[in-house]
């Protein structure tokens, strides 16, 4: 038995490297490595036929952001640059009733965003990004003062607590077509 085993010729493994290289090159070509990143949003469900009348919201609790077809911003009736938007939104959300014409509390504050059909996608994303940044900064500040850690480092329960303090309420109105674009 033993002598028989010994007699078996060894399989030549010289081409193993070639085979492995072939597989490697195949995977290099057919796969991608890029991480997908982006801004996550949730769309509102389609309105039902008989819908209850939505509760009235005081105008002072709404932060109106309009973008026109020339990519210009009108925030609360004033012409604004995108770079000023974040601080403006932060001030509005964190007003807590100090300024009687601004929001009552972060829970009640709503940001209303409306764009034109001719608005450039890049501008829209910049505005979304700035508004998200405003909320993220506020949450970070709250997390630091409450738990002494950044928002991203908190555990699930703590994150939920902070989110309750600063719920991200961005409402998007149906876009208008004032610019006359397709």
């Amino acid at each position: 038995m033993a002598s028989k085993r010994r007699g078996l010729p060894e399989i030549n493994a010289g081409s193993m490297a070639d085979i492995a290289f072939l597989l490697l090159i195949f995977f290099l070509v057919t796969t991608t490595m890029d991480q997908d990143t982006g801004i996550s949003r949730k769309l509102p469900p389609m309105p039902e036929e008989e819908q209850e009348k939505p509760p009235e919201i005081k105008a002072k609790n709404i932060y109106v952001v309009l973008i026109n077809s020339k990519n210009e911003l009108l925030v609360e009736g004033e012409w604004t640059q995108i770079s000023e938007l974040k601080d403006g939104a932060k001030k509005f959300i964190n007003n807590n009733g100090v300024d009687p014409s601004s929001s009552d509390s972060p829970q009640k504050a709503i940001i209303s965003l409306q764009n034109d059909r001719g608005t450039k996608y890049m501008t829209y994303i910049q505005v979304q990004n700035e508004l998200a940044a405003a909320y993220n900064e506020l949450r970070n500040e709250a997390a630091l003062s409450k738990f002494g850690e950044r928002y991203a480092d908190l555990n699930k329960k703590e994150k939920k607590e902070i989110r309750k303090l600063y719920p991200q309420k961005i409402s998007e109105a149906e876009p208008k077509n004032i610019g006359g674009n397709e």
Binding site: T31, D36, T37, G38, S40, N115, K120, Q128, N129
Partner: protein
């Protein structure tokens, strides 16, 4: 004479480098790439340069993500499809009305339990107008696929 003997000896005595471990090394590389990469799912017919943003999140669970590409057709396709922004689903151009069908087929391919966690990633070119994006969003609402992700690159922009 002594010198020549030395050099001769040296050349002859140089042992061949063993390549026995080469397959192992290559296999290691292969496994690395198999684990860290994903299969390329579609060939793009539209040019997509996603806008930059800072407040971004990673898209988790790639198997639950369906992609909608929006952008101007690539050069080779411009002769037949023009330069206006178009929607691409899977491997072909599509019109806005086909999105509901696309979402339905994507949902059918997944487990029923996973449907609420499905995300639609909108990969749109930064030059695209919001009109087409709004139409797509409206169709997604009709298809009841509400989780969306605007695909962006990491980076700051100049105001």
């Amino acid at each position: 004479m002594v010198m020549s003997k030395f050099s001769k000896n040296g050349k002859k005595g140089m042992p061949a480098i063993s390549t026995a471990s080469l397959p192992d090394i290559v296999f290691m590389l292969l496994f690395f790439f198999m684990v860290t990469t994903v299969m390329r799912e579609t060939t793009l017919f539209v040019n997509v340069v996603t806008p930059k943003a800072t407040e971004i999140k990673k898209l988790e669970k790639k198997s639950l993500v369906s992609y909608i590409y929006i952008g101007p057709p690539i050069k080779r396709m411009q002769a037949s499809f023009g330069t206006a922004a178009r929607i691409q689903l899977n491997d072909s151009f599509a019109s806005v009305d086909e999105i509901q069908e696309f979402i339905a087929s994507e949902q059918e391919a997944r487990d029923e339990k996973e449907i609420p966690y499905m995300t639609t990633s909108i990969k749109a070119d930064e030059s695209v107008k919001m009109g087409i994006i709004t139409d797509v969003k409206q169709e997604l609402r009709k298809a009841n696929s509400l989780k969306i992700n605007y695909s962006t690159r990491k980076g700051d922009w100049d105001y």
